[in-house]
Every structure is written in C-alpha cells, then in structure tokens.
Symmetry: C2
Subunit: 250 residues, 2 copies
C-alpha cells in the first residue's frame, strides 16, 4: 500500500478508509484512466489518497493554497471561483462527477481559484508529483494525462467562444446545451435535469447579471424552448437551442 498524502485541512472533509477500486467506479471510463489497461489501472489506484467528502458550500481548496493534488470528482459537483485583489468574483467553471479539478495550478504551484462544493460531494485526490513520476514509465498514463490537459484547454476555448457571442440568450442556450451534454455523459437524462448552481453563479459564468438570466429563462420558456421550475430544467426544443447557441464544433 502506498503512502497517503492527506494535506487538506478543511474541517468539513472526512477521510474514507477504503481503497479506490477505479475499476468499480462509475466514472472509470471518463476520468483520467481513459484508455489505460488493467496494469496501468492498478498503478494509478496507488496514486489516489483516500477519498474526501466536502459538504455543500464548503471549499475543497482555496485560492493561494499550495498545489499538491488534482481531484477527480467521484460524486456531486463543484464550482471554481476566481477573485482578484479588488474582490470581484468570477465563476470559471462547474465540475461534475468524473471531471477533474485543480489544473489551474500547474504552473504557479498555487491554486488561483476557490473550489466550492455545490452539493455534498466526494473527490478522489490524485497526488500530482507521483502522477508525473509514474507518467515517465507508463506511456498510456502519460498519454491520458496529456489528453486530460488538452481537454481542459479545449473546454476553456469553447467557453471563450461562447462568451464572445453577443446576446445573453445565445450564451444561456449554450450553457443549457452544455449542461445537457454533461448530464448525458454521466448517464442521466439529457432533456431533463437539475441545475445544481444558483442563478447568480450562472450569471457570473456567462458574464451577465442575475436578472438577465432570470428574464432569458422566462423568455425561452414563453417561446416553448424549455420548461423551468426552480432549478429543474426541461429542454423542449434541442434543435432550436443548439441553433441559438451557435457554438464551435464539439
């Protein structure tokens, strides 16, 4: 058994004594190990520190914290929030199960965002130095790691493209289509799902105000594109939403 690098001091986190049978994890094919053979899988399981539970509203890491782990979301979801010296907050992304957190810190060795749990969540911490060492000897692991970083670059580029779209309605449509796609990725319904974040988080993410988000949702409902009941969303006309979104290819 390998050493555990538990460093997270957040009072609300709880250590699970279990090991991490990635093979039995519901997200195994979508997380880092994508494309690894069973031998590699054995190795990567050794990298995981025991799982952490982060309660709703509490932080997994904070801006300025030393970077030691990447975190794979096993269950639940997070928002990442950047804030500057003047105190303006900006939501940088939402992370659901089988997605990775913490890649913002690769260069500076310090996190530049807060990661806040939107609901009580479980993460698998992945010691980055060990991952880097192991990537030296396991070609498929290196390849997976590069793909994961590449996916993050691609995600951010797609978001920049979306933010460049004038018109809040287009950006919101893009957001809903993205949420739908990721709901499907998790094996859930792609036409009907719950938004775990507050309206104000959506507004920050899309660079507009909460009132605009609210009005646009109402408007899209009046047009028969969606149905809104609090945080429960039904997509009624996916084709029209995608046309509104006008995203880049993927």
């Amino acid at each position: 058994m390998q050493q555990h690098w538990i460093t997270c001091k957040d009072v609300s986190t709880k250590h699970h004594p279990q090991h991490h049978p990635c093979a039995s994890c519901p997200g195994v094919t979508r997380c880092l190990p994508l494309g690894l053979d069973t031998h590699d899988l054995d190795q990567i399981e050794g990298l995981f520190s025991p799982r952490l539970t982060v309660k709703k509203g509490e932080t997994l890491y904070r801006c300025g914290d030393t970077f030691r782990h990447l975190y794979a979301v096993r269950q639940g979801c997070f928002k990442t929030v950047a804030l500057n010296a003047e105190g303006r907050e900006q939501i940088m992304g939402f992370q659901f199960s089988a997605e990775l957190l913490g890649m913002d810190a690769l260069v500076s060795n310090r996190h530049v965002c807060d990661a806040v749990a939107l609901e009580t969540s479980e993460v698998c911490p992945l010691h980055f130095q060990s991952l880097e060492s192991l990537a030296q000897t396991a070609p498929t692991l290196l390849h997976s790691l590069l793909r994961v970083l590449g996916r993050e670059i691609q995600r951010e580029q797609a978001l920049m493209y979306t933010l460049g779209n004038p018109g809040a309605e287009a950006r919101l449509a893009s957001f809903l289509v993205d949420m739908s796609r990721r709901s499907a990725m998790r094996g859930h319904d792609d036409m009907q799902f719950n938004l775990p974040m507050r309206r104000v988080d959506i507004a920050s993410y899309l660079s507009c105000r909460i009132e605009t988000v609210s009005r646009c949702l109402t408007q899209m409902q009046d047009q028969g594109l969606i149905q809104v009941r609090a945080r429960a969303i039904s997509l009624l006309d996916m084709r029209a939403l995608k046309a509104l979104a006008a995203d880049i290819s993927p």
Copy 2:
C-alpha cells in the same frame, strides 16, 4: 540527424536548411526547453523540423487540419481564430516569439483554430508524438511540457476573467497591460510598443466592436493614460491602467 516531418503544404512556407541551435535562439529560456539541461537540450533539438516561414496574412495551419506539430514562434506573431458553422469568427489569442501554438488540438487531433501570421514570421515545428515519446525518458522535458500546457490553461483562465469584466475600457486596459508585459518578456520596451493586429482583431478578442475599441483608445488618450498613433502605443500611466484592468493576480 533525425527525420523531418514536414507536412505543412502552405505554398507560402519556406523550409530552412539549417539545424536549430536552441542554445543560440533568443527565446531559448522562454520557450519549451525552460529549465532543461544541456543534454536535454540536445535531445529536443532533434525534435524540431526545419523552420518554416509564414508570410503576413497567410496561415500556419487551418481549422480541421490534422494535428502533428506544436509550433514555437521564433520570430514574428500570429493570431488564432476559431469559427463555427454559421461563420462567426472569434480571435482566441495572439502569439509572439517564444510562445507556443497548436495546443488546442491535443484532444481531437485536429486543429480547431486557424493560425494566421500578423507579420512575416518564423516558427519551429515540434513533432508532438516524438515529444511525447521523449518525455518518457527525460523527466525535465516532461516537466517542461506539463508547465507549458499549464501556462496555456492559466492564460485562458486569465482571459476568461478579463472578459467577465463589464465595461470595454477595463478589458482594453487589461489587453494593453498584457501586451506590455509580453513586450517586456521579449526584451523590448514595456511602455512603448507596436500592436501588430488590426483594431477589429482586438475587438473580437475582447468581445466588443471595432468602434468601441476605437472610442475607448481615444478616451484613454484624452485621460492621459496612453498615447496612440495608429498602431504605436505609449503607456503613460501604467498604475492607472492596471487599476482599470482589475485582473487576477499574475
């Protein structure tokens, strides 16, 4: 001498017969090899295909092209442009000498942007598969590669934060401060430099219109923050500009 993987068919590109003495390159400490020892440096030089020249206005690669190389800009500068099915163009970034191009394609193996030379430029193509293989055996090279990808992630996050700033003036100030910083990185003046891109490119990059860019520049000049003469910019009050920009830390 290693094989050359010349695949770029752009009629305007020209192959240089020379090798690539990274050690003598003016950008050696800022490019990929950052932190490599001389032995690693010898190895990485073997990865570079002969340099390419791309004339002003022509493309290094196009959206949809198969991904084979990363490109280190040796001299000159580029813009990367994404466009969707409906034809909306969005400038995703500007790349100057000693910066890297092509990281958008890591996942899909296809470029999702056009890379267009803003002036006649020289790039060092870097065969990615070879780089990945070599990273298996050279720990410092792997580390550098991860840092480079991490820097791209960080760059995009900083841009997302900037785009979240309401007020075109703030975004433009942020842009100018960034241009200044990168001018200094290249060893040039940080208070006085030339913008190689058109106003319309700046506008797209900052998600506003060309008229807004023009008006904001005039306005900032009237306030004594900068001096504008066509594409030549002088920063007169860096402190005020940085305050306007209100960026995240780096």
